[in-house]
Amino acid sequence: MRFETAHQHTWRKIKSGLACTTAFVSAVLVISPLGLVFCYLLINGAASVNWDFFTKLPAPVGAVGGGMANAIVGSLELLALAGVIGIPVGVLGGVYLAEYGSARINSVLRFLADVLNGIPSITWGVVVYGLIVLRFKGFSAYAGGFALALIMIPLIVRTTEEVILLVPNGYREASLALGVSRWKTIIHIVLKTASKGIITGILLALARVGGETAPLLFTAFGNRFWNHSLNQPIAALPLQIFTYAISPYDDWHRQAWAGALVLVTGVFFVNILVRILTRGSGASVV
């Protein structure tokens, strides 16, 4: 039998320490883009985020100043449209997976929802272009909202299902024992108990699609003015950032940084809100 020498033992310990350090450095490298991006957004964008930015239309080429009021409102309109379609479909789909459905059907649906979540978002832009824009001969807010809704559906289906599965069966049984029908039990007892988790999932889905640009490029298309009809092209914050970022004008670049700062603040705000909402309650997942 051979024991390791003290020397070998030290070497193994050093190796372990080196590996730990390497892993630590990796972790720092992974999160460093977050800090870098946020710092540069503040440096380059903060100066241009002012009252005009939130209240004015984009300035014509060459003119300095202007804002992104139409893009901010446009983004909110698109999110509302997406929510109107995506939230009921997603939540009810999640209800089916959690409350009805045989194990086999559910595992197939769950699988497909996860696969859908991995489909590039630009694909939905192309599909909605074919389905709506070509058919109705024009870019529109409806098309943009619909494209965003398609991204939301599988996300919300999955989060809703997971939260509903956490509702204890005793709640359902108590309600059914009182003679309440199953669908009323689901709506009044199950969904109500799980509402916090479901809302969390919805908020995260909205934050996710609120930053999407690719599916809007050829559905909502963007607009330099106010949108007066949902049948018309509409501006969106991410689209405007994209247009400005790849333009050759310095003033537009400044506006792009400001827009990005506002957008990222909104997205982070929702994410932090969700974290606060879900803290302390073990029942809320996501």
Partner: protein, 327 residues
């Protein structure tokens, strides 16, 4: 007596009402939720059908040649997707080359090596990184990362590896290298969080056995945890690949958008998703639009296959938490 008779008369009617409660609401609600759940099936079929029917003419005209031809000339109506397929694959592989070691090392750090108090804050930060919209990372890429790359790492890379074809020539700015790095940043959070869940699902017995044999922390991680979780980690990598292939905005902004096949990573490239983003609204002729739909079909086909594979790999070891991290 009269009262008792009244009650007796009422009871049966109440019973009949109880015996046949309306099941209509229940049925309707179940069918409604079923219909909503089936939208995920409908969406996949609808997407495949729409992309196919939008590109039938192009498929008929070019056939498989579409995938192997390298000319993309809208004016002459010659369309070949090879430069885009090449650009997508190379930028994604480059991204994986950067993101996989970093992501898995970070996951190992978060589950095995880090002090407990640092874990949760790090996890939150990684989730925040995942929340940054692609277009913002692209903006940062154009104005911060590319100039930095050009000034610092690139001259150094040229001196060290300039003799290989991969780092030859000059880098003027937007390039395959920049695209790969941006994609790596985009897919790092998902690779890290899925890997973390997989490492967490490794039974503690594994670790305890290793420590009982006198393993150091790193030895336990390497022998008992990482090798045990190999298959799941592979699933995480494939899932990351799926995201990398479809990454659009950030890449479009930094890769240069030139349909060429160049070995050097300093040269600009083009990806399937970027050509859709850039040229879809410019498609003036029917054939041009058809060719772009065909590009969409290729992208959809590749990503759906990669995602199917990833989900299958992850399902075999799936715990709830793993599937949750996937989202």
């Amino acid at each position: 007596m009269a009262e008792a008779a009244l009650i007796a008369a009422e009871v049966p009617s109440a019973q009949t009402r109880m015996a046949r409660p309306s099941r209509l609401g229940d049925q309707a609600f179940e069918w409604l939720t079923l219909a909503m759940a089936f939208t995920v099936v409908v969406l996949i079929i609808l997407t495949g059908w729409q992309l196919w029917s939008g590109s039938t003419l192009a498929i008929k005209k070019f056939g498989f040649h579409f995938l192997t031809a390298s000319t993309w000339d809208p004016v002459a109506e010659q369309f070949g997707a090879l430069p885009f397929i090449y650009g997508t694959l190379v930028s994604s592989l480059l991204a994986l080359l950067i993101a996989v070691p970093l992501g898995i090392a970070t996951a190992a750090y978060l589950t095995e090596l880090a002090p407990l108090w640092i874990r949760q804050p790090l996890i939150s930060l990684i989730e925040m990184l995942a929340a940054i919209p692609s277009v913002i990372l692209g903006l940062w890429g154009i104005f911060v990362m590319i100039p930095w790359l050009r000034n610092y790492p690139v001259p150094w890379l040229k001196r060290l590896l300039g003799w290989t074809p991969f780092f030859s020539g000059a880098m003027y700015g937007p390039s395959m290298l920049a695209g790969g790095i941006i994609i790596a940043i985009m897919i790092l959070p998902i690779i890290t969080s899925v890997s973390r869940e997989i490492l967490r699902s490794v039974p503690d017995l594994q670790r305890e056995a290793a420590y009982a044999l006198g393993a150091t922390r790193w030895e336990a991680t390497r022998i008992a945890v990482l090798s045990y979780a190999k298959k799941g980690l592979f699933g995480a990598v494939i899932l990351g690949l799926g995201r990398a292939l479809g990454e659009t905005m950030a890449v479009t902004m930094v890769i240069g958008n030139t349909p060429q096949i160049a070995l050097s990573l300093f040269k600009p490239g083009y990806t399937l998703a970027s050509v859709l983003a850039n040229e879809f609204t410019e498609a003036t002729t029917d054939m041009y639009l058809q060719a772009l739909f065909a590009i969409g079909l290729v992208l959809f086909g590749i990503t759906i296959l990669v995602n199917l594979l990833a989900q299958l790999l992850l399902r075999t070891i799936a715990t709830q938490s793993v599937t949750r991290a996937v989202q």
